[in-house]
Amino acid sequence: MDLTLKIWRQANADAKGKIETYQMSEVSPDMSFLEMMDVLNEELIEKGIDPVAFDHDCREGICGMCSMFINGEAHGPDRLVTTCQLHMRKFADGDTITIEPFRAQAFPVIKDLTVDRSSFDRIQQAGGFVSVNTSGNTQDANAIPIEKHDADKAFDAAACIGCGACVATCKNASAMLFVSAKVSQYALLPQGKVEATDRVLNMVNQMDEEGFGNCTNTGACEVECPKGISLENIARMNREYLYASLKG
């Protein structure tokens, strides 16, 4: 396959960025998108051009580190995959592909396609945990049976990889899907219920402080989420938040 790549280049957080165009030839349809980027970077280095900086690590769709906005979609055109699991067979010979970073005020660009998502960590630090110390004598794991339905729902919410596709996709750059997934996981489990009130208030507060936008229920986040996190979680978080606000 021959491709034209239009890639966002930005030297650092303070520099002005712009789109640069690169030509690629003989791209194999079996390559992953990031392998295609590897080949581009090797070519750039050999030509003495600075390679394109992009985040990636596990390359099996689970670490949540890769973060490209490809042809106007987070993680590109395929569904339920991260960029590392997107394969070139999803594109056609002669295509032009535009590649940009995940854009949001709360995700400042570090370089090229690499952004700083530490705002997500700070939201989790505000309450995304159960306050239990490591002791070796917590009660037996089977002491509290959990209804399979709830356990499965908690798992589905916990499958979030924290990549930020929801934020990049949302026209308001809202982090509601991400935050609600964590709130839901704990709200559905007895172990998480004790701190539910403080958790939802603190996490939502931190989310607002980080500069994420509001949710206007467009549902775009759910469509682009590589792990299929459901909008139901946002509804659950809204209920939890309302209840916590009234209680507080």
Binding site: D121, Q124, F155
Partner: protein, 666 residues
């Protein structure tokens, strides 16, 4: 320097309890005066950081990723072992201990493994209390599955994302402590050097990967939790950033490196598709619970399949060779990983590989789909004779169990594994070897510890499935936080370590010089060019089977490649910016040294054991042959200026509780 493993006296089952009660403790008031550095945030590093902070130590934790949640433990799929015996199938601490020693082919330390089995049950309790959503049955209780090399169901799991859920549990425990200010977290920072003052580990030089700035960090103890070194093979199931550098740096400062040649080649990975390949993807071993592994019996069928003239589903049962079931009837498709990998290689070497490259075998779910489908039809009172219905019902069961794995396979290979068998081939996955540690998990440098995959301690020559997660969390939650106190009890009056000491200055200067040398080298080849070449040498000569001639070649080829690398590598950009190529160059430089020690260790160990198969040491049927008389020891290598000069120390392994036998899964 002699090796002292510091194994406590007394009966095996009492050692850990007795040890915990008799070692020194640091009082809560004094813990506040003590700093601990943790490098790495996988299961071991994250759980250790959280627990040390809960205990009251000041913890500084470093990871090279943009968030601690991204560490590669996240990618572990299948599960975590624990001797809970919830299934009532005869499991016990002793049985888990025994299976682990046997699975490791009698090359691990008895006392460490017994401790691991003891704390395994605490891990599950702790994780559930944290809100880790393990799989449950309809009664609301925890579900289990079975893994290779054992005869009980003791593996806890969360679909195919167990590592992710356990890591997020440890990450959440860390977040709680970061929020309280007890952990200071350094994301996008890489440890570049260990600082040793008066013979003790007292800090590290870290590089801020965003600004390129070198930073000095001091502490009273340094914990290395940086994972394994599988990426020395270039292609592996490790993450792109997984590296040996932290472990290798401490090795060069005096920590012995143990059993570097003990590598796990995992049998069920997606085969290589072309030269562009950047990494390999594992398909969880749990698939072998339901998948049957086979190749065609007749070579003409293999040819027809490769040419696309015949589909695997067209082959009748009698034309298929279920070679694991044939060779190992007792364990069948659930033999340990090393055995399954070698058997696949044996078939492919004989020409029975089923893809274009000749390096793939089938993993087939058709029988399981039919079995589950019939079961479901029976439960629901539907027609068990309706093949289409049975298939549909069976596929639903398989989807519920392995849905995300099947989806991943389809995305990568572009074939539907519900309809046609998967193709798999072995790939480098885990390294049992690592930094030598004593019973307290301390390396041969006082105050420097190694935990999780970074150390060598528990898996011997082969790790059983679902035991890596167990070991990472055991070390981090339940072992290191207590044993470290025994050492730190002598440091309560030391006070903060000054980072202006000449040892810090010298260490920083050496890192700075290396970084500058890379960017000013102006060479001709990229870092990946060298990494790929190293990987090829390793895979061809230090891979699934090894021999004296190949290993000697590997040693000299790696040395030559390393010299070429320093002369001709091209690293773009500068040292004072976000420069991923520069970070990669430093990691590959360390792999180029480790690779040589790896081959040297493999050459020295002239026996076959676990994942280490020496062609010179096999039975007439081609099974691995151990040499207990000459090799029942841990090889601990001491650095002496360069890998080829490393000095071998032997830690003899004594088995008091277990009778050492030939491992048989037949």
């Amino acid at each position: 320097m002699s090796l002292d493993s510091k194994i406590p006296q007394g009966p095996l089952a009492d050692k850990w309890t007795k040890h915990k009660s008799s070692i020194n403790l640091v009082s809560p008031a004094n813990k506040r005066l003590i700093d601990v550095i943790v490098v790495g945030t996988g299961l071991a590093g994250a759980s250790a950081s959280a627990t040390l902070a809960e205990l009251g130590y000041n913890v500084k934790t470093f990871c090279f990723q943009d968030s601690p949640r991204r560490a590669h433990s996240i990618a572990a799929q299948g599960g975590i072992n624990a001797a809970k015996n919830y299934q009532g199938d005869g499991d016990s601490t002793y049985r888990l201990f025994y299976d682990t020693i046997k699975g490791g082919d009698y090359r691990s330390r008895e006392a460490n493994v017994h401790r691991l089995a003891e704390v395994s049950t605490n891990i599950i309790d702790q994780c559930v209390a944290q809100g880790v959503p393990f799989a449950r049955d309809y009664g609301g209780l925890l579900d289990n599955r079975s893994f290779g090399g054992v005869l009980v169901s003791r593996t806890f799991y969360a679909k195919g994302q167990t590592g992710q859920q356990l890591l997020l549990g440890a990450y959440s425990a860390m977040n709680r402590q970061i929020g309280r200010g007890k952990i200071k977290m350094y994301n996008r920072h890489e440890m570049m050097e260990l600082v040793v003052v008066d013979g003790k580990a007292r800090g590290i030089i870290a590089r801020n990967l965003v600004s390129g700035k070198l930073e000095r960090h001091s502490a009273h103890a340094v914990v290395i939790a940086s994972g394994g070194y599988g990426n020395v093979f270039f292609l592996s199931t490790n993450a792109m950033g997984s590296n040996v550098s932290a472990a290798w740096k401490i090795h060069k400062k005096g920590a012995h490196f143990a059993n570097p040649c003990f590598t796990q080649i995992h049998p069920t990975c997606i085969p290589v598709s072309g030269d562009h390949q950047s990494k390999l993807t594992l398909m969880s071993e749990s698939l072998r619970n339901d998948g049957r592994i086979w190749v065609p019996k007749k070579i003409e069928d293999v040819k027809a399949i490769r040419e696309g003239k015949l589909k695997p589903t067209d082959l009748s049962e009698e034309d298929r060779d279920y070679y694991l079931e044939r060779r190992y009837p007792a364990f069948g498709n659930l033999v340990p990983r090393d055995v399954a990998s070698r058997a696949a290689k044996e078939r492919c070497d004989e020409g029975f590989g089923v893809n274009k490259t000749g390096e793939a075998v089938y993993l087939d779910f058709a029988a399981a789909i039919e079995r589950y489908g019939k079961e479901q039809a029976h439960v629901k009172g539907l027609d068990e004779g309706n093949a289409a219905l049975v298939k549909k019902l069976g596929q639903e069961v398989i989807r519920a169990k392995y849905g995300n794995l099947f989806q991943m396979y389809e995305k990568i290979v572009d074939q539907n594994p519900y309809e046609t068998p998967m193709m798999i081939y072995p790939a480098v996955h885990y390294t049992m070897g690592g930094v030598w540690v004593d019973y307290n998990l301390m390396t041969s440098i006082p105050g420097c510890y190694a935990i999780g995959e970074a150390n060598f301690s528990d898996h011997g020559a082969n790790r059983l499935g679902a035991s890596a997660l167990m070991q990472g969390l055991a070390d981090g939650y339940f072992v290191l936080p207590y044993t470290v106190g025994d050492y730190l009890a002598n440091d309560i009056r030391t006070g903060t370590i000054d980072t202006d000491l000449p040892e810090f200055e010298k260490a920083e200067a050496s890192v700075k010089a290396q970084m500058e040398a890379f960017v000013s080298n102006n060479g001709t080849h990229t870092v990946d060019y060298y990494h790929r070449k190293l990987g090829k040498i390793m895979w061809d000569k230090c891979g699934m089977s090894r021999n004296s001639k190949g290993l000697k070649q590997a040693i000299s080829e790696i040395k030559t490649l390393r010299e070429d690398f320093y002369e001709n590598v091209k690293v773009p950009g500068t040292t004072s910016e976000f420069n991923p190529e520069l970070a990669k160059a430093a990691r590959v430089a360390d792999f180029l040294e480790l690779g040589e020690l790896f081959a040297k260790d493999a050459l020295e160990r002239n026996e076959s054991c676990g994942g280490h198969f020496r062609e010179e040491s096999q039975t007439p049927e081609g099974e691995a042959m151990r040499d207990d008389k000459n090799f029942t020891f841990v090889s601990a290598w001491e650095y002496q200026g360069e890998p080829s000069k490393a000095k071998l120390h032997k830690e003899q392994l004594d088995y008091e509780e277990i009778e050492v036998k030939t491992r048989s899964y037949k």
